[in-house]
C-alpha cells in the first residue's frame, strides 16, 4: 500500500483536485457567508486587486490563493461580520485572509491522509494588482473561477511538491 507522499508524487498534475477545491470553496461561502457561488461569467472582466495567500507545508507543499476585487472582499467581510459593507473598515483583510485559510483547510481535509501531514501558514493579504508571482517549481497551478455576488473570484493552488 502506498503512502500519502507516494500517491502525491505519482499524481503530478493533480487535475483531479480541481473539483475538490471547488467544493471546498463553495462550502466555505455557504456555511460562513451564507451565499451560493455562481459559475464564472467569462464576459465579466475586472481587475482583481486583492489577494490572500495561505502556504501549505509537509506532505503537500504549495500556496493556496484567493483573488477578487477589493469591493468583493469588503462584501465578504460584511457578510461574515453581519454588518453593512461601509461599516467593515480595517477588519476586511482579516476576514479575507480567514476565508482563504478556511478554503485551504477545508481542501486539505478532503484529501485522504493529508490532513495531519500538511500544515497551514497564517494568511497573508496583498492589496493591489501590480505584481507577479514567480514559483521556483515547475509544478502546475490548479485554478477555479467562480462568481460571488456578481463579482469574479479566482482560487488557485500552486503545487510545489
Amino acid at each position: 500500500m502506498k503512502t500519502t507522499s507516494e500517491l502525491l508524487a505519482d499524481n503530478h498534475s493533480h487535475q483531479d483536485w480541481v473539483p475538490m477545491i471547488e467544493v471546498a470553496v463553495r462550502e466555505v461561502f455557504e456555511l460562513m457567508l451564507h451565499c451560493k457561488l455562481a459559475v464564472a461569467d467569462p464576459a465579466v472582466e475586472e481587475a482583481l486587486d486583492i489577494t490572500s495567500m495561505v502556504g501549505l507545508a509537509g506532505q503537500l507543499c504549495g500556496v493556496m490563493s484567493l483573488r477578487c476585487t477589493a469591493k468583493a472582499a469588503t462584501l465578504m467581510a460584511s457578510k461574515m461580520l453581519g454588518v453593512e459593507p461601509d461599516k467593515v473598515g480595517a477588519e476586511m483583510c482579516d476576514a479575507f485572509g480567514e476565508v482563504c485559510n478556511m478554503i485551504a483547510g477545508n481542501f486539505k481535509n478532503k484529501i485522504v491522509g493529508l490532513g495531519e501531514g500538511c500544515m497551514l501558514s497564517v494568511p497573508t493579504v496583498i492589496t493591489g494588482n501590480d505584481y507577479s508571482l514567480h514559483s521556483l517549481s515547475d509544478a502546475p497551478t490548479l485554478e477555479v473561477r467562480l462568481q460571488f455576488e456578481g463579482a469574479p473570484i479566482v482560487i488557485s493552488l500552486q503545487v510545489h511538491s
Binding site: L31, M32, E91, G105, N109, L114, G115
Partner: protein, 128 residues
C-alpha cells in the same frame, strides 16, 4: 442554563466575533466574553478571570491552541472548564491530539451555529 462567561482564543478578530455570534445564535446567554489572539494571551486572561467555557483555535502565532490547552492543566481558573477547539485542522490525528491534551469538543471550520450548539450545549449542561 445560567448566563456564562466565555473565553474565545483565535488570532482572527473576525473569527472571534463569528464564534461569539454563533454562541448567541445557539441560544447561549453570555454575560461576558473575553477575547485573546493566541494561547499566551488566553493564559493571561485566565490568570485574572474565571470562565465557564473556552473556545480555541489551533493554528495561532506565539502559542498555538494545543500548547494552550496543555498549559490549562496548571491554571486554577480553568479547572473543570470545558474547552472546545474550533479550527481548520480537521484531521482525525488533530482531533485525537486535541482531545488527549484536554479538549472536550472539536468543531471544524467552516462551521454552522447548529454545530456550535450541538457541541457546546451538552458541555455546559454537564457543568451547570
Amino acid at each position: 442554563m445560567n448566563s456564562i462567561r466565555a473565553l474565545i482564543v483565535d488570532d482572527s478578530s473576525v473569527m472571534r466575533k463569528i464564534v461569539e455570534r454563533s454562541l448567541r445564535q445557539a441560544g447561549i446567554e453570555i454575560s461576558q466574553v473575553f477575547e485573546a489572539g493566541n494561547g499566551a494571551e488566553g493564559l493571561a486572561v485566565l490568570a485574572e478571570n474565571r470562565v465557564d467555557l473556552i473556545l480555541c483555535d489551533i493554528n495561532m502565532p506565539v502559542m498555538d491552541g494545543l500548547a494552550f490547552v496543555k498549559a490549562l492543566a496548571g491554571v486554577a481558573n480553568a479547572k473543570g472548564t470545558p474547552v472546545v477547539m474550533i479550527t481548520t485542522e480537521g484531521s482525525e490525528a488533530h482531533v485525537v491530539q486535541a482531545l488527549s491534551v484536554g479538549a472536550r469538543g472539536y468543531i471544524r471550520k467552516p462551521f454552522t451555529p447548529d454545530q456550535v450548539k450541538e457541541h457546546v450545549i451538552p458541555l455546559l449542561a454537564v457543568n451547570a
